[in-house]
Symmetry: D3
Subunit: 255 residues, 6 copies
């Protein structure tokens, strides 16, 4: 294996990946969504942030916990954003098939641990259910987390106007300002506001209906994108990555 610090699967050669598999590396599989993110953010935010946190975490772990970051899946379940335009969505069965094939390939490539790292609220319950199914189907060990669940504490402490991530909000806008500042349409920031929401998977409303996001917010934003700063974003990204790295070190120990 070269001296590289590279952690991205698609930036590594097959031989380097084979060495990592032999060393018992954990494979992080980021998944996001390509969907409307208000007037000020690009449609790729969920994908970009999931991958960003994975890469940062992979560099934070110690040498005894090798980590590879698989190519990020830029597509998720986004039917509720379709009315806004600019949105790509998968059906549940397609997502199932895609994850099945990828997990089976990772297993065949010699890796024993897979952790799916999600960046999109709309994927949460589906991924939970699919992990259960894939574990039975493939007899492999595959885990699931959301970068914003791992980093729940730092998000709460950092945000001034929200308790957690919403959509194209104080938190997401801050992270894009920190990681990909040229992608924020700053002239639209004053319109980047909408009502507060709870992620469906974490809602305490006892009844769930699948409703279009446009019923909730005209702007496509839930939360306060106008309160974002790059400093908050950096703190969140760093904190989520650190939380994920801690999970990797404590939960995926060598055998």
């Amino acid at each position: 294996m070269s001296e590289t610090n590279e952690v991205r699967w698609n930036h590594l050669t097959a031989a380097e990946l084979n060495v990592l598999a032999e060393r018992g590396a954990v494979v992080l599989l980021p998944i996001g969504s390509t969907e409307q993110h208000g007037p000020h953010l690009p449609t790729g935010v969920d994908d970009f942030m999931a991958a960003e946190v994975c890469r940062r975490a992979a560099h934070m772990v110690d040498k005894r916990t090798p980590v590879v970051v698989a190519p990020s899946i830029p597509f998720g379940l986004a039917e509720h954003h379709m009315l806004f335009g600019g949105t790509l969505t998968l059906s549940l069965s397609t997502l199932h098939a895609l994850l099945r094939d990828l997990c089976r390939s990772i297993d065949r490539a010699g890796f024993d641990w897979i952790l799916i790292v999600n960046g999109h609220g709309g994927n949460m319950t589906a991924l939970h259910a699919l992990i259960t199914e894939l574990t039975a189907e493939l007899s492999i060990s595959v885990g699931f987390t959301n970068y914003f669940t791992a980093g729940r504490m730092v998000i709460r402490e950092t945000l001034e106007t929200q308790d957690g991530l919403m959509h194209a909000c104080e938190g997401e806008t801050s992270m894009v300002m920190a990681a990909l500042p040229h992608l924020v349409r700053t002239q639209e920031l004053d319109k980047a506001v909408g009502p507060a929401i709870t992620l469906p998977a974490e809602s305490t409303d006892p009844v769930y209906f699948a409703v279009s996001f446009r019923v909730i917010t005209e702007s496509g934003v839930a939360g306060n994108g106008d309160k974002a700063t790059a400093e908050k974003g950096e703190r969140i990204l760093d904190g989520c990555a650190q939380a994920l790295a801690d999970l990797l070190v404590t939960r995926f120990r060598r055998r």
Copy 2:
């Protein structure tokens, strides 16, 4: 339509159901699981309790909210209980297909509102994801709740040793004592104990792995079945039914 107070779909005639459809009735679709429930409870508990709460709630609503209770689905996602024996489980895609056909049939029978009422923790995230999918596939209005989420407060207030329902626990055992007392193996009650758990869908652990329930508990019980009483059970059943009835009256109003 006859003078009957009957609320069960399969106890009603087609003509009676057609009248209810015309009157805008909500269809409750209970779903449970057939799975091990410790040494003292029968395998049908989740199915029985979901249906019991639905029937009670259907009788509590006022006349302006007609309700029909569809035949309960006795099968769910129970792979994690398979190692104990006595357990039946569906794959996710089978559950999807089954719900699709039932919801489509209910829609074709002239009903406009469907509420799936779940009684099994292992179905929670899957049903959430499937409701989202079915709403897009069928262009119908279908909601989802768990009877124990609707009645979360009364459960917490009633139980002495648990914060919420676990498995074959203080709560479930109490409910069976209240509704189907002959089905409790009382001589096994002292063994009906196990570690406390949180339902996976409500867990705060940031990482999720699908693990066999036998890794968690040798007895098949999580919580304290030995602290159950019929009085607690009646209070929980009544409280959950009342909570569900309140949801029906406030959320499914006539159009």
Copy 3:
């Protein structure tokens, strides 16, 4: 295992089911349909009667032929009744998937013999074909019967105006009068008449077309529901159960 005489899977504990599996018990899997049954009978008749006959038969067999009755499947193939309202139907592929998962679960629970006991004419050819397919797919031993085929003789001898079961007819109405008398709308009995039919699977017409049942009968009845009595019903139920019990004793002997 407890001293119980209980035969229903979902009324038994996992440990009791494990003992029955070890003893080589046959699993009866009743399947019905939820569909219009004329002006006088509830939609659940086929499901109720299949399960009723199974339970009776399970209590008739001798000790050397232990029997478990799985939770009854209340859904079948009922497209031909959809125009009447009040009817739920599955697609053939959903029924296939459901039976596959249930048979596989029963096999994994340690049982070696499964007998599907059908109560709905519209399921007959499909179940025959699916049994063939499941036997190849799962490498298990699964048989198929209809309770009214097993009890063909007693039905013919008992009915005064029909040669065999039709739909919501002299036979079915009699059985509901015997087993669930409160579910018969007696004030509608005089309308409970329709033309004689032969079950499609037993028809001697060389050409088969799938036609709506409404083309055949306006009332939803085929046969003479108005000639029903509880005595006939009891005789049929008892006779069908005895015939099924005989099959169990002679065909599913211990290994």
Copy 4:
């Protein structure tokens, strides 16, 4: 359209088929199986005979009932013959998909009537169930018959040692002697015997298990192939074709 008397779809040009569609022609779709047929008959018997009867019938109808014979499907459900070798079998879902595509194509080609004409006992219940399903799926009019059901009477009258068709038997061997005499291995005829059977779809045994045909017969024959004559075969083929032609004239009248 040319003056040809041709009835085979694949021997006709597209323009000729368009004229037939316009004239309201019935499309016969023969289906057989490729499977062991004892020591003396080729594996294609079921396919050959179904197509033969269709072609003969198509030439017997009067001018007011135009008929087209689609390319025969040489594959069916033959799992029960696999142990003998030389056998091709489809899964039920493949057969479903194949018939769905063919019926949809025939419908798109402008034809309004399809009659599937089966030549293989093992296809009977599956085709019955699939016709029901396809009728609902495609909203087209598709019927189903077996050539030996249509011609049940002539078969019974002609055969000396059997009540109906069995397998590689007095009847099938006679038909091949009549239609394709060079394909009968006459030197094997004395071994062409086996026990009498009833076609599963017509069996009066109340319990059905899918068993390998080799459990039933070592020779692969059920019935008495050694009693076959070409005269019997001609009489059966002619009689079945006449019966099918009668059905076409009486049941598929012009609209």
Copy 5:
């Protein structure tokens, strides 16, 4: 095995096929299409010619290369011909399922080598992709060729006005004149002309769109059917068969 020179699977008995399997025979699986072929040719051309070349080739190989010709699949991918009428088409997934079942059956019948021999341009890329998939799915050795690719040279040398096969063209018309002369509508030959095309799978146009064949040609013909002669046809059929036979001898040697 009899002294027969028979090579057709469905003309052979199971025992004869078992001997051939034991001797290491290659199974040729011809596939065509049933689709419009201009005003002068029947719809079955692709199927007929694929099977014809296979049978001829099977008779040309030496004794050390036994060959069986499976029943020809008369259905392929012909969506692009649907607008002309008279055409049957499969979906890609149906074709996949059909080939999977047939290849698996051939494998279970004891044969180790399968070569799919295609006669329809519209199947080419699909079969290439499906072979790749089936090889992975079934772990068997299955190859793919087109009779007109194997015989590419003789086709080019024989045709006077075309470089290769087109559709209902100089080449195809010639072959039908040679093998099935009664099926050519000679009175339509002067209309049997259309623009030159390249088979999509061999096109050098860098962009591919799936377009209806009717956009390309009003007559349904591509190429010059009016330049056909039986002599050319015989030369092509013989040459393609010889080329295929050579491939069989050189590429499928005994193990």
Copy 6:
């Protein structure tokens, strides 16, 4: 819409994408593969190059041909590379489902033209067949090209030792040197050699078998990676992009 020159879907906001849809923009959908690319190249090459050419082409077209580049699909059909490790592969049906969902989403987002731009030889025939299928399924206009087919001429003219692209070869290595020079393991370049191949989809061998790439080359390279230079790579990338841009301007004109 902002003044940005941005062409990447996931770097654009929903509102900006809606404007582009209204202006009739063509959506390029790059697809690659994540698979072994010899000892010297990373596994993501096919994905990176397809996306690179798309982005360059999108910037080359004139203002009257607006273009959007969808998120690149990093996964393809790579079963033949699995034995090397480091490789991810999809099944054909998963790829079908993924493309179906993406094309349908793009259509629902208001775009009328989709061009799939492939960068992986192993996807070629499958994409050809799937485009045909998707066109029928979705009734949309979707085209397919490979960047190396569009730029076939410039590749041939540029390479010194090859006639066209092979695998991890003179051409691919040159392109990575030009676009992502830090990803080339230069110390491995002398081992980056292997036998010459023709892409399966362009092979003139009349018989196709799906064989593992390891049978062809031990190093995982086909062609001469050691002859690569950044200058050649730049020329190829620029030439392919220009060829693609020309196709866009000439073939996707405004309506």
